[in-house]
C-alpha cells in the first residue's frame, strides 16, 4: 500500500530546527506536514535510569562515536524534540563576534540587531530564564565559590525550563516535563495550527524535478510507502543525517562541501572529592558557567548526574573506582567545552554514519590548558582530591590526543551556509544552492563552531527562515 499527502511545505525532522520551522509556517497559514523518524516519547516512560533511557531516547543508544584521534562519543537524541529532548537545556544566543564572522567570511546577511527579534521570539516560546542558585544545587555552588576565589568571570546559565525542580536527569528524559524541548512546545503548536505530524517515518529522498523541489518519498511507521507532494521541502534531520538525505537525493554536492566542515565542540569533565556532601544529582546538572577563557575557545559548564552516569564517566577502574563511588555524595563535577578549529567529515555506509574527526594541535592545546584549569578550579574549591579526565600520571600539559576522554554534543556545519555556491551547500537564506524550494534548517547549516551551546542559534535561524518563506507567499 502506498499513500500520498499534499501540503504547502514538508519539514523533515522535529528537533531544534524542524519543529520550530513547522510551527511557525503552520501558524503563518501554510499547510504543513512534519515527518519525524523517531517516536513520540511518553514521559510516563521516563524512569530516571540512564541505562534504560539511553537505549530509548538516543540514536544508536547514544553510542555513536567518531573515528579519529581521539575517538569521540557523539550522543544524538531521537524522537519528537530531537536532541532538545535530551540536552541540558542551556540557552545562549549566538555570540555577536560569531555573527560578524559569518557575515565577513561566509557572506551571510546576519548581525546581532537583525537576529535579536528571532532570539526573543524563541526565548519567549521556551520560557528561557536564568537558573536560580537554589535550583542550581551544591555542585554549581562548589564551582561558583572557586570561580569567585580565583576571580574568574562566571554566571548562572539561562535555560528553557518551566517549573523545574532539579530532578538531575536532563539528559535521560525530564520526568517533570519542565524542560521545554521542541517536542512539547513547538510540535503541539504546529499541530494546533493544523500541521500533520507523522512519527516513525523515515524519508528516503527529496524529490526534485526541473530544479524545483516537489516533495519527498518516505516510509511510514506501518511500513507503507508515503509520498508527500509539496513545493517547499526543509531538511532538518540533524547535522549527522541531513547530509546523507541530501546526498541520497542528489542535492548539495556541487560545492564539494556536503558532509565536510564538521565541528563538534568536543568536551570533557573532571571530578573532585569534597569534604562535604554535594549530592550532584540534586539540582540542575548544567546550571553554571565560567567564561573567563572563552576568548581562548574554552568554556567551562556544569555537568552532573546520578550514580550510574558518574560510574560511567569516572576516569579509573577496579577497587579505586569502587572507593570513589562509595563517596558519590561528596563528588563534584565540572566540564569544559572547546570551540574547535578542527574539522571532520562524514560518509554513510548502508545508512550508518561514518564520522571522521581528528583533533588539531590548537584544540589539543585548549584541552591541555582547560584540564589544568579544571584542576585549579577544584583546588580553589578546597577539594580533597581531584580526578582529571586523563590516565594516571599524565599531566595535563603533556596529554596526548589519545589520552583525552572526550564527548561532543554539538555537531555543526556539514551542509554549511555560504553565500557562494562554490563554498557552501545552502545560501544565506538556508536554500540549497541551485534548487528552488529546498532548504536546510538544522545545525548542519551553521557554518562554524559557536563556542556556546547551539540550540538557540538553530532555533533562531529556523525562525528567521520561516518568516522569510512566509513573506514570499
Amino acid at each position: 500500500m502506498s499513500r500520498a499527502l499534499t501540503a504547502d511545505a514538508c519539514v523533515i525532522g522535529a528537533g531544534a530546527g524542524g519543529a520550530v520551522l513547522a510551527a511557525e509556517l503552520a501558524e503563518g497559514g501554510m499547510d504543513v506536514v512534519l515527518l519525524e523518524q523517531g517516536p513520540a516519547h511518553d514521559p510516563d516512560g521516563f524512569t530516571a535510569r540512564p541505562v534504560q533511557m539511553l537505549g530509548r531516547l538516543y540514536r544508536e543508544g547514544g553510542q555513536t562515536i567518531t573515528l579519529g584521534d581521539p575517538p569521540i562519543a557523539l550522543p544524538l537524541g531521537r524522537g519528537l524534540g530531537g536532541t532538545t529532548l535530551v540536552n541540558s537545556g542551556t540557552c545562549f544566543r549566538t555570540p555577536p563576534e560569531v555573527l560578524d564572522r559569518w557575515r565577513a567570511e561566509f557572506g551571510l546577511d546576519v548581525d546581532e540587531r537583525s537576529m535579536r527579534p528571532h532570539f526573543e521570539r524563541v526565548e519567549q516560546a521556551l520560557s528561557v530564564a536564568e537558573v536560580t542558585p537554589e535550583l542550581a544545587g551544591e555542585n554549581a555552588a562548589v564551582a561558583r565559590r572557586a570561580a569567585e576565589a580565583l576571580g574568574w568571570s562566571h554566571g548562572y546559565l539561562r535555560r528553557n525550563a518551566k517549573g523545574c525542580v532539579g530532578s538531575g536527569v536532563c539528559a535521560f528524559g525530564c520526568p517533570t516535563s519542565a524542560k521545554q524541548h521542541t517536542g512539547i512546545t513547538y510540535v503541539p503548536r504546529a499541530r494546533a495550527a493544523g500541521a500533520r505530524v507523522l512519527t516513525g517515518t523515515g524519508v528516503r529522498r527529496v524529490v526534485v524535478n526541473g530544479g524545483q523541489a516537489r516533495g519527498v518519498e518516505a516510509r511510514a511507521a506501518d511500513g507503507a510507502a508515503l509520498e508527500v507532494r509539496a513545493p517547499l521541502v526543509a531538511v532538518a534531520a540533524g547535522t549527522v543525517h541531513t547530509p546523507a538525505l541530501l546526498a541520497r537525493s542528489g542535492l548539495g554536492a556541487d560545492s564539494g562541501q556536503l558532509g565536510r566542515n564538521l565541528s563538534l565542540h568536543p568536551a570533557t569533565a573532571a571530578f573532585a572529592l569534597m569534604d562535604h556532601d554535594v549530592d550532584m544529582a540534586r539540582g540542575v546538572p548544567q546550571s553554571f558557567y565560567i567564561d573567563e577563557f572563552a576568548h581562548e575557545g574554552i568554556l567551562f559548564e556544569g555537568a552532573a548526574g546520578p550514580p550510574s552516569y558518574v560510574a560511567m564517566a569516572l576516569p579509573m577502574t577496579g577497587r579505586r573506582h569502587q572507593q570513589v563511588m562509595a563517596a558519590y555524595l561528596r563528588l563534584a563535577q565540572f566540564g569544559l567545552m572547546v570551540s574547535d578549529t578542527s574539522r571532520g567529515w562524514l560518509k554513510f555506509m548502508r545508512s550508518r554514519p561514518v564520522i571522521r574527526y581528528d583533533l588539531d594541535h590548537g584544540d589539543l592545546e585548549k584541552f591541555r590548558r582547560g584540564i589544568a584549569r579544571l584542576g585549579q578550579l577544584f583546588e580553589a574549591a578546597g577539594a580533597r582530591e581531584v580526578f582529571l579526565p586523563l590516565p594516571a600520571h599524565v599531566a595535563p600539559q603533556r596529554a596526548r590526543r589519545r589520552d583525552l576522554k572526550l564527548m561532543a554534543f554539538h555537531p555543526l556545519g556539514t551542509a554549511r551556509a555560504d553565500a557562494r555556491p562554490t563554498h557552501g551547500v545552502v545560501d544565506g537564506q538556508l536554500a540549497v544552492h541551485g534548487v528552488r524550494g529546498a532548504y536546510v534548517a538544522d545545525g548542519s547549516a551553521v557554518p562554524s563552531a559557536l563556542g556556546v551551546n547551539p540550540q538557540l542559534t538553530i532555533m533562531a535561524l529556523a525562525t528567521r527562515l520561516a518568516f522569510h518563506l512566509l513573506a514570499r507567499r
Partner: protein, 86 residues
C-alpha cells in the same frame, strides 16, 4: 551472562560495536581478562565503564548512594498530573 539492561543498550548501539563490547565485558569480568585489558587503558576503561554503569543503575547499588530513580520518576508523574503538564 550480560545484564539484561546492558544487553538492551548494546543492542540499541551500532551493530559493528556489539561484538567488541561483548568481548570487553567478558574480559572485564574475569581477573585475568581485566589484567590483560589494563595494558590497554582505553579498552580497560571502556569495558569497565559499561559494567559500572549497569551496576550503579540497579536500585540496590544506587539507593545507598542517595539516588532513588523510582522516587524521581514518581515525583515527575505526580507533578505533571497535578499541574497539567504535557
Amino acid at each position: 551472562m550480560v545484564d539484561p539492561g546492558l544487553e538492551e543498550l548494546i543492542m540499541a548501539g551500532p551493530a559493528w560495536q556489539r561484538p567488541g563490547k561483548r568481548l570487553l565485558l567478558s574480559l572485564v569480568r574475569r581477573p585475568r581478562g581485566l589484567a590483560l585489558l589494563k595494558r590497554f587503558t582505553p579498552a580497560d576503561q571502556a569495558g569497565y565503564a559499561l559494567v559500572a554503569m549497569a551496576h550503579y543503575d540497579d536500585p540496590e547499588a544506587a539507593g545507598p548512594l542517595g539516588w532513588d530513580a523510582d522516587a524521581v520518576a514518581a515525583r515527575g508523574r505526580e507533578l505533571r498530573r497535578r499541574e497539567g503538564r504535557p
